[in-house]
């Protein structure tokens, strides 16, 4: 049971409610895309899932995030362990500049003090999963910043996978990448989704259509908090949405 369940998620910044009552289930081994216009709360939502919302000093929260049945917000839950199980890939590639490619992949186990018996195998496996192995196998000891933007992002994915997370959150992982690199990242998502539940925020409708099994549409009407308007199988959301706001968004009529 590695399903991720979000129940009644509310998020505030100070007194301002930015996300109201979001309920979503992410079954293990599936890819869910979160779409919606800027400022609709989808990034805030995924940051509540691995407890990164609380980095903002004024942040407030209500709801439950259950991973394998345990609330990650429960008292006594170790937040660092939560983030170990729910990894994250960010919008901009952020490999550690002071480290080599190999060291970047091993950064997670090192930071979390996880003992790795066979580092070489772990590095190779993680880079394979991220579809980067063939490109970097001869230059593992070069600085990570020597890679191109797309390669850096896949390195960051490999880095996240090296600690064997149950869930991988991706916050617009391809927005800074060219189409070829984007495609590679999408292939990577396809490859890893059997082991890892993927939640991906994207502004790219085609990407959502290509990569995800389920899609949730978020929207914040003027002066209102962000809400989840519609959720369903990706095919249904794009071909036969129930809500006409979803339809107008996915057909590009607004947002």
């Amino acid at each position: 049971m590695n399903d991720l369940v979000a129940k009644g998620i509310h998020a505030w910044f100070g007194k301002r409610l930015v996300l109201e009552d979001v309920n979503l289930e992410f079954a293990h081994g599936t890819v869910t895309a979160l779409i919606g216009p800027s400022g609709c709360g989808k990034s805030t939502f995924i940051r509540t899932l691995n407890r990164m919302h609380e980095f903002v000093p004024e942040a407030r929260f209500a709801g439950q995030v259950l991973l394998g049945g345990n609330d990650v917000y429960a008292q006594g839950e170790d937040v660092t362990k939560v983030r170990l199980r729910i990894g994250m890939v960010f919008q901009k590639p952020n490999p550690f500049p002071s480290m080599t490619i190999r060291e970047n992949v091993l950064a997670g186990p090192k930071l979390a003090r996880i003992k790795v018996d066979d580092k070489t195998t772990l590095v190779e496996k993680s880079l394979h999963q991220a579809g980067l192995w063939n490109e970097v196998k001869d230059r593992l000891n070069e600085p990570a910043l020597a890679l191109s933007g797309g390669q850096q992002q896949r390195l960051c994915i490999a880095r996240s996978l090296a600690v064997d997370p149950k869930v991988l959150l991706m916050d617009e992982p391809c927005s800074a990448l060219d189409p070829a690199s984007t495609l590679r990242v999408e292939e990577t998502i396809d490859d890893i989704k059997h082991d890892v539940t993927v939640v991906i925020v994207t502004h790219n409708m085609q990407q959502a259509g290509r990569v995800s099994d389920y899609t949730a549409f978020f929207l914040a009407e003027l002066g209102e908090p962000g809400r989840m308007v519609e959720y369903g199988e990706t095919k249904q959301i794009f071909s036969n949405p129930r809500d006409n706001r979803t339809e107008r968004y996915v057909t590009g009529q607004f947002g």
Binding site: H10, L17, F61, A62, G63, Q75, D78, R113
Partner: protein
């Protein structure tokens, strides 16, 4: 539609955890007292060291039991940081306290309204004051800042924007200059200006000496701050058709403004209390000198130094008050600079 759900912060420590931590601190206090009572340890230093050791051990222990070894490490390092900050604050607060305590006695209205023309330093406390020194200090620091700020920022701009062939040399020399003893700066101005074109002691000579001391601090700090301005902002400015100077003046400097003001503050902090170079350049006086270019001027550090030399109780009291006023003056200056830097930033 009403929100029935209340905003919470589940990541905050619960009352129970906070109570545990408070109990831990109390236990550390108790252990300290017991140790002092029943062992050879005694004195305030021993008490402080014991308390820090016990509190660190207990809070790390609590975390260990609650969340394991890694969390205990977290708690340990946090305790160390807290101790280090406390150690840093201790001498500062102690100095502040001492100056305020000793400076209170002579802190009377006449200190701010009179000079030392009619009343000598040997007179009673309610006669004579330091207005000449206060005015002199403000003038000297202002003039020195006026000289050193543009020079420092411009040379920093040369290092970050022009990046000319001389950059390495200039950077090296500026760094070396920050090691120049202040007396040497005073001597330099004394021989190059006071004995020469300056024709004697003057406020300007003092400001020159202070500017020499202030310059490396301002230039180095300004350079670091300008380096933090992202390259893409410069590119954006240039891509809009701005010349390099227009881009620097319109985008780079405003972006770095608050940091540049910090550079100025650090520079002022460097020179406000300088005494040695002033003896050689402004000499000191007993009355306000309205001219910055002619004749000796006084300054608070000189005033303090002069009173100390008299060796009388009343003079000591005045010296402490001089130090107190100098500190307060610097504080006001900093607050003003911060306010200046904080405007329009949001």
């Amino acid at each position: 539609m009403s929100v029935s759900v209340l905003p919470t912060q589940p990541w905050r420590a619960t009352p129970r955890i906070m109570a545990t931590e408070a109990a831990g601190v109390l236990a550390a206090l108790l252990l300290t007292l017991l140790t002092l009572r029943f062992t050879g340890f005694s004195g305030r230093l021993a008490a402080a060291v014991l308390f820090v050791a016990f509190a660190t051990a207990i809070s790390s222990g609590i975390e260990w039991r609650r969340r394991g070894f890694e969390a205990a490490q977290d708690a340990f390092v946090r305790a160390m940081l807290l101790t280090a900050s406390a150690l840093v604050m201790l001498p500062l607060l102690s100095i502040l306290w001492t100056v305020v305590q000793n400076g209170r006695a002579a802190l009377r209205p006449n200190f701010f309204t009179q000079d030392l023309t009619s009343a000598s330093g040997t007179g009673p406390i309610d006669q004579g004051g330091a207005i000449h020194a206060i005015v002199g200090s403000i003038e000297l620091v202002a003039l020195a800042t006026l000289i050193a700020m543009p020079l420092g920022v411009l040379s920093a701009l040369y290092l970050t924007e022009i990046r000319g062939r001389l950059s390495g040399t200039i950077r090296f020399l500026t760094q070396a200059m920050s090691g120049v003893p202040s007396v040497v700066a005073g001597l330099f101005v004394y021989s190059a200006w006071v004995l020469g074109p300056g024709k004697g002691f003057s406020g300007f000579a003092g400001a020159l000496a202070l500017a020499i001391l202030m310059l490396p601090t301002v230039a180095r700090t300004a350079e670091e701050v300008l380096k933090l301005v992202p390259e893409h902002l410069r590119e954006a400015g240039l891509a809009l058709g701005g010349t390099q100077w227009r881009t620097v003046a319109g985008i780079v400097l405003p972006t770095a403004r608050s940091g540049l003001i910090t550079a100025g503050i650090l520079g002022v902090a460097r020179i406000a209390g300088e005494t040695a170079p002033l003896i050689l350049t402004v000499f000191g006086a007993v009355a306000i000198n309205t001219s910055m270019f002619n004749g000796p001027v006084s300054a608070l550090p000189l005033y303090v130094f002069g009173e100390l030399k008299l060796g009388l109780d009343t003079a000591f009291a005045r010296a402490w008050t001089g130090a107190l006023v100098l500190m307060f003056l610097v504080l006001v200056l900093f607050a003003f600079a911060r306010w200046l830097g904080g405007r329009n930033t949001r």
